[in-house]
Symmetry: C2
Subunit: 140 residues, 2 copies
């Protein structure tokens, strides 16, 4: 998902384009590219450019972007983390515990597991690998 795609989607759905909304998109596509970041991370970034910004604004837009599929999220250590949705075919991620960097894993365990759950209704699944990325290995 690119900034342009996201902005077009927002306009198409009738949402207003504000400078805050644009800056949030910039944060996730530039500074936090391919990284999972928390609401706090985003707040700290926004606060530099828009002193006095409200947490309400941060959370409201995170939720909106998540609903619209602009952001994807996961829960790490009891805190929600967000990143730009990465398109393409269904896949999962390795996530660095230190910096949140992700690496695409083109593999889905459901290809092997669905058939083991005949009498169950499957709604969803989660597969994530955690550890250190090459960059954080060398600097820690």
């Amino acid at each position: 998902m690119t900034i342009k795609d996201a902005m077009n989607l927002l306009r198409k759905k009738g949402y207003k384009m504000t400078d805050r909304r644009e800056e949030i998109l910039k944060f996730f596509s530039d500074e936090a590219e391919n990284k999972y970041k928390t609401a706090k991370d985003l707040y700290d970034h926004m606060e530099k450019r828009y002193p006095g910004i409200s947490y309400d604004t941060v959370y409201r837009n995170l939720h909106l972007y998540h609903e619209l599929g602009i952001l994807e999220s996961t829960e790490l250590d009891g805190e929600k983390h967000f990143r730009m949705t990465c398109g393409g075919s269904h896949h999962h991620h390795f996530i660095c515990k230190i910096c949140g960097t992700t690496k695409k894993l083109n593999f889905c365990p459901m290809d092997y597991v669905s058939k083991l759950l005949g009498q169950y209704i499957i709604d969803d699944h989660k597969f994530e690998v955690y550890g250190l990325c090459p960059k954080c290995i060398t600097t820690n």
Copy 2:
């Protein structure tokens, strides 16, 4: 993990056996067998038998049991859930979104994925399937 195993482990490690600690083990091996339950679920259960029990007691023992490997935990909808550790070889779970019931999945995606992460340090992974168990399908 059985109640007896857990009590022996506690004694071996020098922890005291209290009636609260025993009741917590009973909760997870009887009422909540093979189910993921929250701190609140446990608190409500304990409150019936020990009116005025403190959340401190509930959380302190959940953490202790988790550290000792008596309980395993996962985060669902922003809330920690616990269940008796189920032994045997490494595996993952289907988890019912309504009642927390789990079903063992004798499959681990890491058998397929480790080799894709040569230059990464892998510390941990999570694979869970969510949906409805047969019982909740019929009653909902």
